[in-house]
Structures are given as structure tokens and as C-alpha cells.
Amino acid sequence: MDVVKSNPSPRKRFFRRGIIILAILALAPLLQLSASVLVAPTAVFLSDADRTGRMTIQNPTDKPKEVSIFFSFGLPESDSLGNVQVLLQDSGVTDTRSAVDWLKAFPRKMVLAPGATQVVRFVARPPKDLPDGEYWARIVVRSQESQTSLPSQAGDDKITTKLNMIIQTAIILKYRTGNLVAKLDVVDTQVVSLDSAVNIFVNMENRGNVSYVGILQGRLLDAKNREISTERINLAVYHSLIRRLHLPFAEGNFQKPYHVEIFITNEGRKDLDPQNMIVGNKILLTMAAD
């Protein structure tokens, strides 16, 4: 299938981002109440051409916050049912695509006054002769109250408790070098028909040297290709991943036999800057659903 570079119009991107910003601003009064940290952007990209990056951290609350920055490793991983988790690994990382050991952040610790903002800069010092491709780490922003006050006892025989709520935001950092290839392969699919829906388990392998970031869309169609239901989820495959699509049956004059169409593409991600997308292959699969 031909590859077409995704490039939504600047006007659409402008309004989309504006909606997200306004939604966050609308919730700003809520954020004034207690511990919180705002981190932007939600992905940082470095490369051999530009080994430095930056991130903005803001304290939108009315209390000072103690913030520390460190690097960890954690990729989206799935179980056999397609449930995804990101487990952070602080040490003993053996993945050859880990960038944790050669990244630095400045500053690494800070106290943010109420409403204050801090820019954190990153620099990559990769080893020589690094093979082409993408290398990953998680920037972990850890935030807590800078002054923790224990509750006072209500009486001589009383016991009081204080649970300190600490927040960690883990942002992906990608370092890119050399020739970059985004290529995905579907190695297995399973269709499980239930009384009210069809579940499709899509097992994918990354065959490129960068993470495959895109969209997985499933459509349940009848014999005349009329759409019964559809589901569309974001996709980020670093090594391998299983995702589940849930396609319910719907009332209507649909004719059996039903079938399922699966479509995977780099295009259409509304939450990422197109400049950072590595365009890859598309996949279209069709299978029986009965």
C-alpha cells in the first residue's frame, strides 16, 4: 500500500490544540486546590542533529512544590487480553534501545513557588557508533508538597495519620539517529464472537528501528459492507504489542455473514506534532466475524 504523509491543515491543528488548552484552563480552578504539576510537552524528541531538548513544568497550585526529575525506562507492554501497562524500571535496564544511561537533565531538583514555571533542559551524550534508529527513556517528574505538616493530635489518647500524596508524571523521550524506518507487522489476529459483540485481538511486531506510532481501527461490517460498529484506538508499538478491539453488534437491517476490517496507519493522530511522526507502512486486513 502506498504511504502518504500525514499532514493535517494548520488551521485544524490550531483549533484542536486550542480545545485541549481551554479544557485544561477550565479545570485550572480545581488545580489550585492541592498538589499538582503541569508538564508540557508530553513527548520530547532529540536527535543526532539536535541533542538538546526542553520541557516546561508548572506549579498551578497555591502551595510550593518540591519537584525532582530523573530518567527511567518503561515501554507500553500488553498481556494476552490486550491490556496495556507501562512499568517503569529505574535500574538494571537491559533493552538495547534504552537511552537512560546517557541522558542528563538540568536542573534535576527544584522548589516551584505557587504559579511558578521552570524550564528543564535535556542533553543526550550517546555512545559512539550508535546504530541507526530510535532510543527511548521516560522523563519522570516527581512532585510533592515542599513542606509536609503532620496533623496535630486531637487528644492524648488519639492517633492521627497523614498520607503524603506524591505524583509522578512519566513522559516519553525519544532520541533519533541515522536512517529511520517505521514498519509494523501483524503477526496474529484472533476473532472472538460473543453474544453482543466481537472481540478482535491484534498481535503486532515492530519491524522498523523506530516506535510505530499510529492508529488501529476496526470495523464490523455486514455482507453488503455496511458498517455495524467501529472502534479506533491510538497505537504505539515499541517492540511488540497486543491490542483488543471491541465491536458491538447493533440493531438494524444487517445481513450476515459479518466480517471485520482492521486498518493500521500512521495518519490521523491528532495529539502529536506531524513534524515528529516517522511515516511508516499501512496495514489492511479482513477476516470473518461469525
Binding site: I20, V39, T56, P76, V84, A116, T161, L163, A170
Partner: protein, 184 residues
């Protein structure tokens, strides 16, 4: 100037104006260099994780276990995650086994049952959940942010078990919530 360049300039200016209007609520003095950085970063989308309410057991008596109710605003812990609507967020809670007193000479057991956590991808409070899903706090599922309100809440309850000879005083421990986008 090309249309795309004008749009970029308009985007940057509007974002800077909106952001400066926001940060001006708490009055702070910031340098121009930092202000420009804020505008550029914020327009790329942000992730905001907030601890709205602490887990609160109130006053505890020796030998009398106490539980926080997950449906009571003043008792259940309430975390919110705000970001790009429709995006999936992986969540992980690090929970303590004990609370320690201020002198680190006595500890009190704290426990979290497999039904002590609710996730609700809607605007609400512990008392006004819209569509909560009860989950094991030691194994939180990745959850999609509400497509319109761009939010999800994590509510947490728990129980403490003071011994009959538990030293009186104030006890504390840390609860850590980690949030990460799965799809980028």
C-alpha cells in the same frame, strides 16, 4: 508571508496570550525568556496530574481498625489526570504497608483491598462518581481520558489497623501515583 507561517505566528501569539492570562492569576514575576518557553511548550499539549484529596482516616483509637470510605469526599483519596481527551494513560500506585510515627519508633499497619480503588473517566467527586470502575489498586488498568472533558479520576480507600498498644501520636507514609501516556 506564507499562509502557514501566518498561522504559526497566530498560534504562537494566541497561545502566549492565553497562557499569560492563566499564569497571571497567582501574581508572579517571570522573565520574558521563560514566558516564551511556556507558550511554546503548552501549545504542544500538557499532562496535569493532581492530588485533589488526601486519604483521610480521621482520629484513630488504639486497637480499633479504621477504614476510609471510597464514596466519601473527605475520606477517599482523589487524584485527577487531565490531558488529551481520548488518550490512554497508564497508572501505577505505590502503596505503603505501614505508617510511621514522627520518631520512627512505632509503626501502624495500613492495607488496601482489591476493591479499594475506583477509576472514573468523568468529572466528579468521590460522592458523585458517574461511571466508576472498581479496580485493584495494586494493578491499575490503563484508562482512556474522557474524550470531551479530558479527565479521569482515581479514587482510593484503605484501612489502618492500630495495635492495642499503639503509641499515640501522628503517623505518616507516602502514596505515589505514576501516570504515563501509553500511545506516544
Amino acid at each position: 508571508m506564507q499562509p502557514s507561517s501566518r498561522m504559526k505566528l497566530l498560534t504562537l501569539c494566541l497561545s502566549a496570550a492565553v497562557f499569560l492570562a492563566w499564569v497571571s492569576v497567582p501574581v508572579t514575576v517571570q522573565s520574558q525568556e521563560v514566558a516564551v518557553g511556556q507558550a511554546t511548550a503548552t501549545v504542544l499539549a500538557a499532562l496535569v496530574v493532581t492530588s485533589i484529596q488526601d486519604l483521610n482516616f480521621g482520629d484513630i483509637l488504639q486497637g480499633v481498625p479504621s477504614s476510609a470510605d471510597i464514596d466519601v469526599v473527605a475520606e477517599a483519596a482523589d487524584f485527577s489526570v487531565v490531558g488529551s481527551g481520548g488518550s490512554e494513560v497508564a497508572l501505577y500506585l505505590q502503596l505503603p504497608e505501614y505508617l510511621w510515627n514522627t520518631t520512627n519508633t512505632d509503626r501502624m499497619q495500613i492495607a488496601f483491598a482489591s476493591t479499594d480503588c475506583d477509576i472514573d473517566a468523568n468529572v466528579g467527586t468521590a460522592a458523585t462518581k458517574v461511571a466508576p470502575v472498581t479496580v485493584d489498586p495494586y494493578n491499575l488498568p490503563a484508562t482512556t481520558l474522557h474524550a470531551v472533558s479530558n479527565i479521569l479520576h482515581v479514587y482510593l480507600a484503605g484501612s489502618v489497623y492500630p495495635a492495642v498498644d499503639q503509641a499515640v501520636g501522628a503517623y505518616s507514609a507516602d502514596i505515589v501515583l505514576t501516570a504515563a501516556y501509553t500511545g506516544n
